[in-house]
């Protein structure tokens, strides 16, 4: 009764078709591509092109539109306007399947979202043929699956055992599996979104070798997004700089191009909002960190200090380790080595609970997930960090006191809500953020750490939050302001530490620091 097994043919009709379609593609041209999200113009009139065998870098500050543009190319943003020319012929890429048929593959930064952790390396690489190549077949021929996967890996000079489960691989190996899968799909254009961010130096070298081989030997066009400018010189042949949803320059990467020049191209955005800096009196050293490293290796030997009344900026690009540093100081991530001192006294902070007891507050980056309880009302959130203050001796909450405090904070912070009983999920992003900050005002902390506090916040709310932070500093609090928005860091801080790859690579007084200088360090410029 066994099913007759048919060996997968090297040129089965399905594969042959795909082959024919993608082999003809040798260039992609995008013309005046625009995308509008509610309230923001993410891309405006962008022209972009890539040819076979080219390795093109796409750089730009956070929010410049790099990822959005790449998503258009990969068919993940179907609402774009403009034209895409494939070998000069207009073509619509409105879904990922179309992009795949044209041989465009996007390897996202979050590799885990695209992999099946409990399947083997071979299955992950051959996944598409396991799904769409199984018409009329019921049995999986493991021998041929493993063999094909091994062939692809050998061609790419990757050394991974195809029978291993993907869940047991390192991040670098997972990336390689994704690249191998893309190659298996006859990929002609490979988009790598910040592939090197989580990798070690050796792993980066290996990845570059593979990418170079792909471009030179297989004629694949590679688009390479990275925040680390020095490495672009090692691998890329051309470069596109984006800023505020526009392409500002296209250059060839050669000896004439310098990191400084790229940084200059990335900048130039004027900071429309003028935030007057309130002068504060800076007091004694409040918080001091000595040689901090975390267990995950995202924070490496970090030392710094903050004085009372001082706003200290930690500036770094996405993935530099700012969030991890904040969580480490707050006891939410595990410390490997180092010491934290508050007012000269050494602290043991193992959990957020002990951090709060020591009057350290954190406004986390992921507001809705970590900062507020969205399903609870405003007053509940505003007293969540120190409910004990509103309790009698039997731990019963004195609601009237709590409501009074909440109403006071809502007025003071300008939180726009119909009442303090409104659930936080119905507030706008900026107002949610104010609630997340307000929670710590109730607890009257000494050290405030704010991680990307203006992310997804409109200009008006941004101004309010800035005023709030400055007010805290004026009252002698120590403020740690972590952000990748350089202009904001320059506007509000007294002193700046630049973070790159888990290290603090520079300390600059805000008065003399320039955007250019910060970006230079933040992109690994002095390495």
């Amino acid at each position: 009764m066994g099913m007759p097994y048919r060996r997968p043919h090297r040129d089965s009709p399905h594969r042959g078709e795909k082959n024919r379609m993608s082999q003809t593609v040798s260039s992609i041209e995008m013309k005046s591509i625009s995308i509008e999200f509610p309230g923001v113009k993410a891309l405006s009139d962008v022209d972009f092109s890539i040819k076979n065998g080219e390795i093109r870098a796409v750089v730009g500050a956070n929010g410049a539109g790099k990822s959005t543009l790449m998503k258009v190319l990969a068919g993940a943003n179907e609402t774009y306007t403009g034209t895409i020319l494939i070998d000069g012929k207009p073509c619509e890429i409105r879904d990922p399947r179309m992009a795949k048929r044209l041989g465009i593959e996007l390897v996202y930064q979050e590799v885990d979202t695209a992999l099946f952790p409990y399947l083997s390396v071979a299955e992950n690489i051959m996944f598409n043929s396991l799904v769409s190549g199984m018409k009329g077949k019921s049995l999986v021929h493991w021998g041929s699956i493993n063999k094909s996967a091994r062939e692809i890996l050998a061609r790419l000079k990757m050394d991974i055992d195809v029978s291993r489960k993907v869940s047991s691989l390192t991040l670098a190996e997972k990336q390689m599996v994704l690249i191998a899968r893309a190659v298996r799909e006859r990929c002609k254009f490979l988009i790598l979104d910040e592939p090197t961010a989580p990798l070690s130096l050796g792993e980066v070298e290996k990845l570059f070798g593979i990418v170079r081989d792909l471009a030179e030997r297989e004629g694949v066009g590679v688009i390479f997004i990275s925040h680390r400018l020095p490495e672009l010189f090692q691998i890329c042949t051309s470069l596109t700089v984006m800023k505020d949803g526009k392409v500002v320059a296209n250059r060839a990467v050669n000896a004439e191009l310098t990191t400084r020049e790229i940084v200059n191209l990335m900048l130039g955005r004027s900071f429309e909002e003028n935030f007057p800096k309130i002068p504060t009196t800076i007091g004694e050293t409040m918080l001091e960190a000595l040689g901090l490293s975390d267990e995950a290796g995202r924070v490496r030997n970090v030392s710094f200090s903050i004085k009372g009344g001082e706003i200290v900026g930690i500036c770094g690009l996405v993935g530099a380790g700012k969030t991890e540093l904040c969580k480490l100081l707050f006891g939410a991530n595990k410390m490997r080595t180092g010491q934290i001192k508050l007012r000269g006294r050494s602290l043991k902070i193992r959990t957020p609970t002990s951090a709060v007891r020591q009057k350290i507050a954190l406004v986390p980056e992921e507001r809705r997930k970590e900062g507020v309880l969205v399903t609870e009302p405003v007053y509940f959130n505003l007293s969540a960090a120190c409910l004990g203050k509103f309790c009698n001796r039997l731990s019963f909450v004195k609601k009237s006191l709590e409501i009074k405090n909440a109403k006071h904070l809502v007025t003071e912070l300008g939180i726009k809500t119909p009442s303090v009983h409104q659930k936080v999920k119905y507030l706008s992003g900026g107002n949610q953020q104010k609630v997340a900050v307000g929670k710590w005002l109730t607890s009257d902390s000494d050290v405030y750490m704010l991680d990307e506090p203006t992310k997804g916040v409109d200009v008006g709310a941004k101004r309010d939050i800035f005023q709030l932070i400055q007010g805290l500093a004026k009252n002698g609090k120590a403020i740690l302001y972590a952000s990748s928005e350089i202009n904001e860091i320059l506007a509000i801080t007294d002193r700046i530490y630049v973070m790159y790859n888990g290290n603090l690579v520079a300390e600059l007084p805000t008065k003399t620091a320039t955007e250019e200088e910060i970006l230079f360090y933040a992109t690994g410029g002095n390495k």
Binding site: P352, V372, T375, C391, V397, P418, L427
Partner: protein
């Protein structure tokens, strides 16, 4: 300030009203239906007492589960844990001749101890609740059967090895499971737990942890400690439920309380939306248990065979869950 409008508005009034009161409306409707169909049979004071007595154990175990679910947990093992507690209490009377005042606290403390094992699996070894309590369910089933020697325990019944037993089950213990007492116990528990969850710091933290573990942790709430507190508190009510089952049977039966686990969980879910709480709450659990209890009582009176009743309970639970999840997903 208060005039300012939030960017996203809550749902329309009518749908919000239905969501808030759906369970209560259903309760009243079902009650009215049976009362009109069988006024002489259903709408008698003795039958109302019967219903309340019948739902009291489900409600008490349900209150335990309300606390577990409020803190963001889940429990499959409540029936087995209650059975174990029942086996202990009867054995304390019959085998060890303990007094009521020693036996009940001892049985509750031991049940709390068993819950500590569950908490160890969940908090320390990070096993998902569903799986940890599944394992506990099997463990407890086996342990309580082994403890009782593979059979029931009752007054005068010799032990498994043939030793005769001389202990008596106190009359007071029997009264606990009878009509006025058991209903009063239930009402007191519902009120006390409702006050605890709504008006005390601990209750608020339990809901905060259940609402968003990470946000609660980053607010400085010791989430694992509250998880354990909630578990132990739940164990008291689950244990008490088991004791009351034993009191009603005047013996410890094999799997005696197993049948209460699923109705109790259902009651919590049916009651989630009551009065707009949108989260497990004590009063809602009582409403949920009442709805199921009234349905069961009325349908039996209408000569629906007892073996078909689960189908009705399943439909009620499905409707309650549909109303909860449908409205919460259509929001975002």
């Amino acid at each position: 300030m208060s005039k300012a409008v939030a960017t996203a508005k809550p749902k329309g009034k009518s749908s919000a009203f239905i969501e808030k009161w759906a369970s209560l409306i259903a309760l009243v409707a079902v009650f009215a239906f049976f009362a009109l169909r069988m006024p002489k049979l259903f709408l008698t004071s003795s039958n109302i007492v019967t219903i309340l007595r019948a739902i009291s154990i489900t409600t008490i175990i349900g209150i335990g589960l309300t606390i577990t679910l409020a803190v963001g947990g889940f429990d499959l093992s409540s029936g087995s844990m209650a059975t174990m507690s029942g086996a202990m209490i009867i054995s304390f009377f019959v085998w060890y001749k303990m007094s009521l005042w020693l036996a009940i606290p001892l049985a509750l403390v031991l049940t709390m101890g068993l819950m500590m094992i569950t908490m160890l699996l969940i908090v320390k070894f990070k096993i998902p609740d569903l799986l940890a309590t599944l394992a506990m369910m099997f463990m407890l089933d086996g342990v309580s059967l082994t403890y009782s020697g593979g059979g029931a325990i009752s007054e005068g019944m010799p032990r498994f090895n043939g030793d005769p037993t001389f202990g008596k089950i106190p009359q007071l213990f029997k009264n606990m499971g009878q009509a006025p007492t058991i209903i009063i116990i239930m009402i007191v528990i519902v009120i006390v737990v409702h006050i605890f969850l709504t008006y005390t710091k601990y209750g608020r933290y339990i809901y905060a942890v259940g609402g968003n573990k990470e946000a609660a942790r980053l607010s400085g709430i010791p989430i694992y400690r509250y998880r354990v507190y909630a578990g132990i508190l739940a164990a008291i009510f689950i244990g008490l439920g088991g004791i009351l089952v034993a009191s009603r049977n005047m013996s410890a039966q094999i799997q005696g309380a197993a049948g209460y686990a699923m109705p109790a969980i259902s009651a919590v879910f049916i009651g989630r939306s009551v009065a707009g709480a949108g989260k497990p709450n004590a009063f809602g659990t009582f409403v949920g248990a009442s709805l199921v209890g009234i349905l069961e009582n009325g349908l039996i009176m209408m000569s629906v065979p007892y073996y078909s009743l689960n189908a009705v309970k399943g439909v009620v639970l499905a409707l309650a869950l549909a109303s909860t999840y449908y409205s919460s997903t259509s929001e975002n």
